[in-house]
């Protein structure tokens, strides 16, 4: 890497980090939190096999897992105004990302819940706990443990998927890298740089994951 490129990389670091910290991170955290809450509800609904609700949940998962996130963003941001619903960019992004996370994470959780030994449910029933209590106190905590790495997959994916928000006018980190590229024409260097910053963010998440895993492992 010659001096000029190096200089560009150094000068860009701050410019990239700012949208990283002010957009990528909050967008990720908020969307994941909402998405995870949604995922739990959807997973429970699917496991419960209640007639109508389960079908609705299944339909939701089918659509939001099966279509590209970019299309979901587009429809929410550019499509809804045509039926009179205009949502600003950031809320649109949060809605799309949360719905997407909800669909994926609910499947992960469903698999993990179904793998909890039946005896755990039965012990809960036998002690006359309600279905919801059994789920909340006994089954979900055990399901989370095995689903943890896969849930963090979704989390870490989301960190990077937030870059799609650029398509609905949100100035985020990747787009900023592209903008700098458009000035200096150094795509590879800038992509590498932005890649390193994403890696930094994801490293923190990986730490959190491993820390939580160790804690959960201690409790069983």
């Amino acid at each position: 890497m010659d001096g000029r490129v190096w200089q560009i990389v150094v000068d860009s670091f701050g410019k990239l980090l700012i949208p990283g910290i002010t957009v990528t991170i909050p967008l990720t955290l908020v969307s994941f939190a909402i998405g995870l809450a949604l995922a739990i509800i959807v997973a429970l609904t699917r496991v419960a096999r209640t007639p109508v609700l389960t079908q609705i949940a299944q339909f939701y998962v089918w659509v939001f897992r099966g279509t590209p996130l970019l299309v979901q963003l587009f429809v929410i941001f550019f499509g809804l105004p045509s039926i009179g619903v205009t949502i600003p960019a950031i809320p649109s992004a949060i809605i799309a990302f949360s719905l997407n996370v909800g669909a994926y994470a609910s499947e992960t959780l469903r698999g993990a819940i179904e793998a909890v030994p039946r005896g755990q449910f039965e012990a809960g029933y036998a002690t006359n706990m309600s279905y919801v209590t059994i789920m909340r106190r006994i089954v979900l905590p055990q399901a989370f443990r095995s689903a943890f790495p896969a849930l963090f997959n979704t989390f870490i994916s989301l960190v990077k998927d937030t870059s799609l928000a650029a398509n609905i006018t949100v100035v985020e980190m990747f787009m900023t890298a592209q903008r700098i590229t458009a000035v200096y024409y150094e795509p590879l260097a800038l992509y590498l740089e932005v890649g390193v910053i994403y890696l930094l963010f994801c490293t923190v998440l990986t730490w959190v994951q491993h820390w939580c895993e160790r804690r959960l492992a201690a409790h069983s």
Binding site: R4, F78, P81, T86, A89, A166, N167, T169, V170, V171, M175, Q178, R179, I180, T181, A182, V183, Y184, Y185, E186, P187, L188, Y191
Partner: protein, 242 residues
């Protein structure tokens, strides 16, 4: 870059018999796919083809997103880019550029009902739906507009018509192409600018003889009316000269 180690850039092109251009293929009417034949076509494509032919080699095109076009040149997967590339001081530090093969003018687009924009100076304080670090976005920002980030011209129009931006500063000919496709769109051209050089072929640094050769070809094609003919095919007017 340093490609002039043993053989010259021109010699290399002649040896392999092809001149490879990167292009987006999604920028009508400069580089796009014909809706009937599905073949890559457009002003830049045709000019690049003519230049290659004049050099006695075949033109080849490699399609990808914009950043990839540049990376392709850097990694020697392509020789140049035919995609309405303009020059700046920063860009000249990275690549050699040929003489321009197209001139264009900028326009300010507004919603039909908006009569507040009479000159480029009126966009001060307005929200401009601009493309990803393009020259036009820079022009708008220099005039005091704030940028609403979009990825292509269609998105810019959606953003404007849904009220999320006030103006679009962009290439006039691209806007005309859009209006040709969608005459009923709720947009109009409010202001036009002067014509300026709009398209050059970038080449890896050190490709002096190849730059020279392409420059000669452009001059020749301009002189013998080839560029004018191509231009009129796509625009109904000559954009190959000032």
């Amino acid at each position: 870059g340093s490609s002039s180690s043993s053989t010259s850039a021109l010699q290399e092109v002649k040896n392999k018999g092809t001149l490879v251009f990167g292009t987006e293929g999604t920028y009508a009417p400069y580089s796009y796919h014909d809706s009937k034949t599905n073949k890559l076509t457009g002003y830049d494509v045709d000019v690049a083809t003519a230049v290659a032919k004049d050099l006695g080699v075949k033109a080849e095109f490699s399609e990808a997103n914009f950043d990839s076009l540049l990376a392709s040149v850097d990694s020697k997967k392509t020789d140049s880019v035919a995609n309405e590339i303009t020059t700046t001081a920063e860009r000249k530090a990275k690549y050699d550029f040929t003489e321009p093969y197209a001139y264009s003018y900028g326009v300010v687009v507004t919603r039909k009902s908006d009569n507040s924009i009479k000159s480029f100076d009126d966009i001060k304080g307005k929200k401009d739906a601009g493309q990803n670090g393009s020259n036009w976005a820079k022009v708008a920002q220099d005039k005091g507009a704030t940028l609403v980030q979009v990825n292509d011209f269609s998105q810019a129009v959606e953003t404007l018509t849904s009220g999320r931006a006030d103006v679009i500063v962009n290439d006039g000919l691209a806007v005309l192409d859009y209006l040709k496709q969608k005459p009923n769109a709720d947009i109009k051209i409010a202001v036009k600018s002067e014509k300026t050089p709009a398209a050059h072929f970038p080449l890896r640094k050190g490709s002096d003889d190849l730059t020279e050769a392409i420059n000669k070809s452009i001059a020749k094609l301009r002189k013998d009316g080839t560029l004018k003919k191509i231009s009129e095919k796509y625009f109904g007017e000559d954009i190959s000269t000032k």
